[in-house]
Symmetry: C2
DNA sequence: CCTCACGACTAAACCGGTACAGAAGCCGGA
DNA sequence: TCCGGCTTCTGTACCGGTTTAGTCGTGAGG
């Protein structure tokens, strides 16, 4: 292969100056149609693409977006959110001549340093802020760095960044409501990492829904990892007054919880109802199929990418509210076992066979 | 925030020329220790970091590595390999001043275009080639583009790229051997996507291991997705001569297979033994815990990153062979039903003899 | 004492684009 | 015919680094 062609090669080939070629590829006015064609033809023939590095130098734009993920390398594999989120982002970026830069960091210190580095080196034009934490230090840092950003969810600190969000509360309320309808009175929640906003939000939405229906919520903590889901389930099922239904804050914890219950000899869903959250692909292939609350990470990705691009290109971008999360009922929920209900409850017809 | 400092600012601050600052930050000889200190101090004080874009212009290096993933957006969430692989890559890159550029593409055409674009725009210094396919067109394309690369596994076409690989056959052989020991005679394999080399390799390694032990392999096809695992399991369990053990080509398919079996009323592992592959985090949290063959994607990532960096920096890099994949016995395997086992057997898996 | 090699440093060209001032060509109106 | 005023296009100065040729002392060798 010969050397990569440059804008000068194209200019020479088309018999015009560098500047004009630049005008053409950037769609600037003041170029005759005939010349435009000639330049475009020359560029196509030479297979020339403008070098973004050179371009960045004068335009002060990196033509790249960044995603920094703070996640324990050990458990990142069980998280179904990011790959799908990224593919959603990518579906928007691919047509826009921008690329995505990804960083996975193990601790908060390196996370912040990574943002500083991306900004100082002008590596990206903007970043996605996922997994918002309480009093998230990234908000202030990004503002200080003057790095455009969009946040997934509303931060609990002052932020001027556009927000992509989805009401998850209704979905959780629907879960609780359905469990109550089925006759459950002792409904537990295994919370996600409570340093993260969506960990506490989901917990609060759960407790609120249970209280609203006149029940008393039971909550144990987890951290979104399968391991924590298993431990929490052990704890719950070891209680004197076992819950008859467990609402997990994500699918991986629910999956691990299902396994623990089964290992203890419980039949699902007859002896215990279980639900997850996030609507992972795997959830429908479990036994019993895991009832969950949809989330569609790819949709988050698309919306976040569009919003961030708008912010970068126009300097402003509106908040986006995705459609409400929907409860996806599946076979992992059923009426509570009769024995567990000493007091008056509608005698629900229990399915005799499975 | 004030404007970002440039090399000229640092030079002025330290009272030297731009060129000297460049010498200092690149560790070139011919700079007195005193001056070096002064320059470094000025750089630190101003918080200056060399702009990689400007740098790229003359050094022809992008200071970035690329990963292009061809994956159906719908199922990428259930794939535990990439997030962990990426975190392995990142653990190497973070200290090296290079970043990682990620692209997720839905079809082969766009995949190849993405490589072309990355090369034409000098976005990356090299790429990781994962999920090798038969007669993979990327090998020739990358050679043509003169883009350095490392492949995960050996390509079946001539390739000059360094290879990162791990013997997976021994692990698979250990699985089969253990199942035979337990008394299984009808052992089936649910293959992964056979367009991918590791799909057919695993299948071949399975059939070979079964034949070597005097058995007759049963193979049905899948594509690594949970859905295909479920379908294949249905097909197998609908056969007149059902298999008593199923070896799945990855964990997600195995998980879906477990669910199908349980839904059909089979008790695991007593009625059916199941194994997965890739040693995903989730596998240990299932019921019964899924026996699998370890893989450690993060280790692939680290090795691939080191190899690719060496290739880029020195122009050559050796192949790397990772430690053999190891069978991880767990509760999902047991003797076949009604097995006339002359010797002592227990329903749970025993440590394999390796 | 002069020359020369060498270490430390500077100046300017260059990488591949963009931006902007201004030149050239063309047109219509006075 | 001359003069604006467009439109179209050129030339050149950047952007922030790297690289190379060359300058300037300084000390050793002849």
């Amino acid at each position: 292969m010969s050397k990569k062609p440059t804008i000068s090669d194209v200019a020479h080939e088309a018999g015009v100056s560098k500047g004009l070629v630049s005008f053409v590829v950037n769609g600037r006015p003041g170029v005759s149609a005939a010349t435009r064609e000639r330049v475009l033809a020359a560029a196509a023939e030479l297979g020339w693409r403008p070098n973004p590095n050179a371009r960045s130098l004068t335009t002060r734009s990196a033509y790249a977006l960044g995603l920094v993920v703070l996640r324990d390398p050990e458990i990142i594999g069980s998280d179904p959110f990011f790959p799908a989120f990224i593919s959603g982002v990518e579906s928007v970026l691919s047509d826009r001549g921008r690329v995505m830069l990804l960083s996975v960091v193990p601790d908060e210190e390196r996370e912040l340093d990574t943002y500083r580095k991306l900004a100082a080196e002008s590596r990206v034009d903007g970043v996605f802020v996922t997994d918002l934490r309480h009093r998230d230090p990234r908000i202030a840092l990004l503002a200080e760095l003057a790095l455009p950003a969009v946040t997934l969810g509303h931060a609990d600190v002052p932020s001027d960044f556009p927000v992509i969000d989805r009401d998850y509360g209704k979905g959780i309320a629907a879960v609780v409501s359905r469990l109550r309808e089925l006759g459950h009175t002792r409904i537990a929640h295994v919370a996600g990492d409570e340093r993260m906003l969506h960990g506490t939000h989901r917990r609060d939405q759960f407790t609120e829904a249970v209280r609203a229906s006149g029940g008393t919520p039971i909550v144990v903590s987890g951290d979104f990892s399968p391991d924590s889901g298993a431990q929490a389930t052990h704890a719950l099922l070891g209680m004197a007054e076992k819950p008859t239904a467990i609402v997990f804050a994500n699918d991986p914890m629910a999956m691990a919880g299902m396994a623990v219950a089964q290992e203890l000899g419980l039949r699902l869903p007859d002896d215990l109802s279980i639900t997850g959250m996030d609507g992972s692909e795997m959830s429908r292939y479990l036994f019993p199929p895991l009832a969950t609350v949809g989330n569609d990470p790819a949709e988050w990705g698309r919306a976040a990418a569009l919003s961030l691009l708008a912010l970068i290109e126009t300097g402003a971008s509106d908040d986006v509210t995705l459609p409400d999360a929907e409860f996806i009922p599946r076979g992992s929920i059923a009426p509570p076992p009769q024995a567990a209900q000493p007091s008056s409850e509608r005698p629900t017809a229990q399915p005799s066979s499975r």
